[in-house]
Amino acid sequence: MKINFVLNGKGRVLNAPSDRRVIDFLREDLGLTGTKESCGAGECGVCTILVDGESRLSCLMFAAQLEGRNVLTIEGLASEETLHPMQEAFVQFGAVQCGFCTPGMILSALDLLKRNPHPTRTEIREGLSGNLCRCTGYQKIVDAVEATACKKEKGPPL
């Protein structure tokens, strides 16, 4: 079927079988390998994307469901040469080790800050509780999200 949607800011009309999982569509068909897959069953959050600004698991969606939607993957977050403030903070605070969880973590964190611009550390942990990280021990990830929230308070909106 033809799918008409916005992908990382650009309008696209693409062909895909309607029951193609979104994760396969992004990674295999479009070569957007920033979005990861691990469990394929909703448990780990590495496949997180934003659909109309809300975090979603691309392993539990079919391509047909993208029709008319605005999709953001990690590839669409930085503008030209500048990283998004959240990406900047992940680098600065050492919140990335192997990096496998990072795309999902960052997109989930953006959903969190949209709903709750000034989360406590506990709220950050709860907000990211669907995203697993096997390397960092989470501390630095929470630091990075906290710092981004503080920066947002002072600077322009994200």
């Binding site: 079988p17 959050g45 989930s108 959903d111 709860e126």
Partner: protein
């Protein structure tokens, strides 16, 4: 390839169902897509309900509230009508899976999956919720506890969907409580859960109470006997301890990967006793 249909309104949905009588229906897909991937379901086509606005939202109608079946857990958590009237439901939604699953999963899906561990069921039982069922030609309503027949089994017939959940406001119950025990805080399927509504008087007497345990039997467990034992008393450890053996006797848990039946019996009892320390 399976065709995936995305009807935009009920009119379209009925037309598609008529043409694809064998299709499976889904809303958030957080249960169905996992089962599809495990090859537990073989279906020629799929119908996704996520675009049907008529099935979403929360509507206040006098002393009742209608919750659209395809409302996501996140949308209900953020809804002031739900927050104001049904804290017992909000508390359960707060510990259901993870924010990501809550952004996708729906209350209708949680009910229709009819898992013994479904987190919205014990709150909806104590709230005496009714399920609104629709098909192309008819609409009927029934008590949730009659709708759920067993694990994964409901009264839904071919061509029917759950369109909404009706819940009466419960201004008399001034204390709402939900506790879930799982293996960890986030993304834990309940080992045992307990939803409670209390009417507590100025003197801290229990004037009325409704209890419902999840995950300890094929369907939610309630007990008129225990409720009657608590009414007219303060929630003392002594009173609760006297009722606890009944809780142990009425639950019918299973051994599974998450916990043994014995452990579940113990926790069912403990959650009751712990009501003594709930903040009033």
């Amino acid at each position: 390839m399976k065709r995936v249909f995305l009807p935009h309104n009920l009119e379209e949905l009925w037309r598609i169902i008529a043409g694809e009588p064998k299709a499976d229906i889904y809303a958030g897909g957080t249960d169905l897509l996992v089962k599809l991937r495990q090859n537990l379901i073989n279906t020629p086509s799929l119908i996704c309900l996520e675009r049907i606005e008529e099935l979403k939202g929360v509507h206040e109608q006098g002393d009742e509230v209608m919750i659209g079946a395809c409302s996501t857990h996140t949308s209900l958590l953020e809804n002031p009508i739900i927050q104001r009237n049904f804290p017992v439901l909000t508390k359960a939604l707060n510990v259901l899976a993870s924010p990501l699953i809550r952004n996708m999963g729906t209350i209708g899906g949680n009910i229709c999956t009819a898992s013994p561990a479904a987190d919205t069921l014990p709150p909806l039982y104590v709230l005496k919720a009714e399920v609104e069922i629709r098909s192309r030609s008819a609409s009927r309503q029934m008590a949730l506890k009659e709708f759920i027949l067993g694990p994964g089994i409901t009264c839904l017939k071919a061509g029917e969907i759950v369109s909404g959940i009706w819940v009466k406001k419960v201004p008399g119950f001034n204390l709402h409580h939900f506790e879930k025990v799982g293996q960890r805080k986030a993304l834990a399927i309940a080992i045992v859960s307990l939803a409670t509504l209390f009417k507590i008087s100025g003197e801290e007497m229990v004037e009325d109470v409704r209890l419902a345990w999840g995950s300890v039997a094929p369907t939610v467990v309630t007990s008129n006997e225990i409720e009657a034992m608590l009414v007219g008393h303060r929630l003392s450890r002594q009173v609760l301890k006297k009722a606890a053996p009944i809780a142990r006797a009425i639950v019918k848990p299973i051994d599974d990967i998450r916990a043994s039946a014995d452990y579940r019996r113990q926790v069912a009892e403990n959650l009751l006793i712990r009501l003594g320390s709930v903040q009033k």
